[in-house]
Every structure is written in structure tokens, then in C-alpha cells.
């Protein structure tokens, strides 16, 4: 897969090639296009795994936007795995929202292409480079608008160097906790299903935290991620990982 080959992770694991893709939707769309997949019928299990592998390979596995998408894909994958009653008319394809967003994003892509073309044409026409220096005359008219003033008030207050203003917000992601949970499970059993790692009734933050913890453990070579069949579940096992995900 060329996506992964295009970038490398540096020693620190820090994000090195974020600019390669303009966001998770861009990466996802690239994966889909490269494999000439029908956007309205995405093989989620396959794409989810490739996405996780790609963000890991690109060193994007610490960027919240990408992790959120990874969690979303895994959730859809799990939803699709759940048995559903026959003839259930209320059943909604869990991929529908993702497809809508991808199409919308593809449309943005097309507009970007058009805008870039126009900008390139315009870049070949130069305006006058030299304009007369200001003679002695009143300063040019001033523009002041309320919205800008209010924005500035916001900015000033946010930037105020006063410790009094610190507000403690509970950290939604608890990677440390998730890491401890995964390690406990590993000690107990040596291997388990990805879904078990999320715990009962996981919130999106739990899913992301767990995913992050597992990816980090995999990076450190302390767990191995195994998927026996293309649409099967992901197992987490103890031991070094030869190939990430």
C-alpha cells in the first residue's frame, strides 16, 4: 500500500508527516481511491484495519483527529458484526453517515481543485509591483468592526497571563487507565478480543483511550494485534509484534 510507504515515523514517535494528508477524511478517501472501492459500499473491516495501520505507519497515531476517525471506523465495524434480526426495517446502515461525510468531503476536494486551477492561472498575471509612496496626506480610512473587537476581547482574555484564570477540565482521554486495564487483561489471560478491552458500555472517550493504549503497547512491542480472517475480530495477544497491526 503506497500510503504507508510515503512516510516514516521518526525515533520519538512524534508526528512527522502530518502535512501529507489534510485530515483523516483525506487519508480515508486516499485509501478508498487507491483500491478503487465503491464509496457507497465500503468494506469497513478492511478499510478500518488499513486506516489504523496507515496512521500508525505515518506517525499520526497521536493526533486526536485521526484517532477519532479510527475509533469511529472500529465502531462501525463492530456494529456491522453484531447480528441483526431479519426483516428489520428500522435497521440503518451504520456506514451511512460516514458515506455522507466522505461524499461531502469529495465535493470539497473538487472545489479545491477548481480553486487551485484558478489561483494558478491568476498567479501568471502580475499586478503593478510598485505603487507610489504615501505623500503627506491624512491616513487612509479606518475600518473597525464590532465582531472583530469582540473576537479580540475573547483572544485577549484567553491569552491573559493570569494563573487565576486557569480552569481545570477533566481530561476526557484516560490512556494511562486504559493501558493498565489492557495490561491487567493480558496478565490474566494472555490474549483477548478487542471488544473486551473497551469494557462494558464504553464511551467514545473510552474507545479512543483504549485504542491509543493498545497502539502504544503495540509500538513498544508489548502486545501483538492479530486478525485471523479479513472480517474477523481483532485479538490482542501478549508478546512482541513483528509488524504493527
Amino acid at each position: 500500500m503506497t500510503v504507508v510507504a510515503r512516510a516514516a515515523v521518526d525515533d520519538t514517535g512524534f508526528i512527522v508527516r502530518l502535512e501529507e494528508f489534510s485530515g483523516p477524511l483525506d487519508l480515508l478517501l486516499t485509501l478508498i481511491r487507491e483500491q478503487e472501492i465503491d464509496i457507497t459500499d465500503i468494506p469497513i473491516a478492511q478499510i478500518a484495519d488499513q486506516f489504523v495501520a496507515a496512521i500508525h505507519g505515518l506517525g499520526l497515531n497521536q493526533a486526536a483527529d485521526y484517532l477519532e476517525m479510527a475509533a469511529r471506523l472500529l465502531r462501525i465495524k463492530i456494529q456491522l458484526l453484531l447480528p441483526r434480526p431479519l426483516n428489520d426495517e428500522d435497521w440503518e446502515d451504520p456506514r451511512a453517515e460516514l458515506v455522507r461525510r466522505l461524499l461531502e468531503y469529495e465535493q470539497v476536494h473538487e472545489i479545491v481543485g477548481w480553486l487551485t486551477g484558478r489561483a494558478t492561472l491568476r498567479a501568471d498575471r502580475f499586478p503593478r509591483g510598485w505603487t507610489p509612496p504615501d505623500p503627506e496626506r491624512p491616513p487612509p480610512p479606518l475600518i473597525l468592526d464590532l465582531a472583530q473587537l469582540l473576537q479580540t476581547v475573547d483572544d485577549v482574555i484567553r491569552a491573559m497571563p493570569q494563573p487565576l484564570l486557569h480552569r481545570v477540565v477533566p481530561r476526557p482521554l484516560d490512556v494511562e487507565g486504559a493501558t493498565r486495564r489492557v495490561e491487567a487483561l493480558l496478565r490474566e489471560r494472555g490474549g483477548f478480543d478487542l471488544r473486551e478491552a473497551f469494557g462494558p458500555a464504553p464511551t467514545p472517550a473510552d474507545v479512543i483511550s483504549t485504542l491509543l493504549a493498545i497502539l502504544e503497547l503495540a509500538r513498544l512491542g508489548r502486545v501483538r494485534l492479530v486478525q485471523a480472517t479479513p472480517f474477523g475480530t481483532v485479538d490482542i495477544r501478549r508478546g512482541p509484534t513483528e509488524q504493527a497491526a
Binding site: 489534510s22 477524511l25 468531503y105 470539497v108 476536494h109 477548481w114 489561483a119 509591483g129
Partner: protein, 185 residues
Amino acid sequence: MDRLSKLLEAALFSASRPLTLGELRRLDPDASEADVRGALESVRLRYDEGGHGIELVHVAEGYQVLTRPELADMIVQAQLVDRPRRLSTAAMETLAIIAYRQPVGRAEVEEIRGVAVDGVLRLLVERGLVDVVGRSEGLGRPLLYGTTPLFLELLGLASLDELPRLDELSVALTPLVAVGPDLAP
């Protein structure tokens, strides 16, 4: 050239941006809008028919004199002028969404792009391509953004109407222009 054409030409040369018809009329209080249009046309013809290296272009709801595109490579090669730097894909995407959905809040842009856009948005405002155009009535009264005349100028568009209509795009989808807090179709 008649006196008004001469004056318009000088004014267009002196300004570093496109001048609107209204601004050009200020040059001569006695001239009607038709006079100004006629004089502009005579400047345009003069450049086109005289084989000049510059031309009069209708852009950003105004008029501007620009060099002819076929000369750009030679001027750049001679290192007399640099082409403007291109915007990053992230900046272009943000700009595209704002252009079609304006006035639009940051959250909506982030929803479509799937990433945080603080930094990119600040850059676009600093570069003068985007500006705050108001506040939404919604929760927290978020700021709303829109494109500026400079955006049109740098794309060589006379007005926003020249942007491709959504039904002309190959990816047909619910109109992007339908502004709403909920983006679902």
C-alpha cells in the same frame, strides 16, 4: 485617449488593488456611470489592440490592470518578479468550505474537514482572504467567517457568482450552501 480614460488609466496604475466602478467615478464627479464604463472600454481596447504587455481585467467586483499571462514565465525567469506562494491543501479546503457556506462558523468547517482548523483559519484571516463577518445566534454566539475581496482578486474572479455551481460538480450531493447547524441532508 480622452481625458477620462487617461485619468482612469493613471488611477488603476496607482492603486495596488482592483477599483470598483463607484470608486472610479469619484475621479470625476461630472462623469456618469456610462461615461466611466465607456472610458474603461476604451482603455481595455487600447491595451488589447495595441499589442500591449498589460491588460485591463474585471476582477473582484472591480477593475485592475495586470500583465498578460503568456509573459509570466519570462519575467519570473529574469528574476524580476516572484509568483505568489501557493496555499497549503488544508488552507485551500478551509477556504473552499467558507466560500460556499459563508457566513459559516468554525465548528461547521471542522465538521466537514474532520480536523481542527484554528491555525489555518487564523492564517487565512491574517492573509486577508477570510474575515469575521458576524456572529451566529447559536450557543456561545460563535464568530462567522466569509471571504474577502482579496480572495476574489487572488482567484481572478469578478464575483462569488463565478464559483462553479454545486450542480455542476461531478460529486452531486445535497447543496453545500444550505446553511444550518445540522449538516445532515
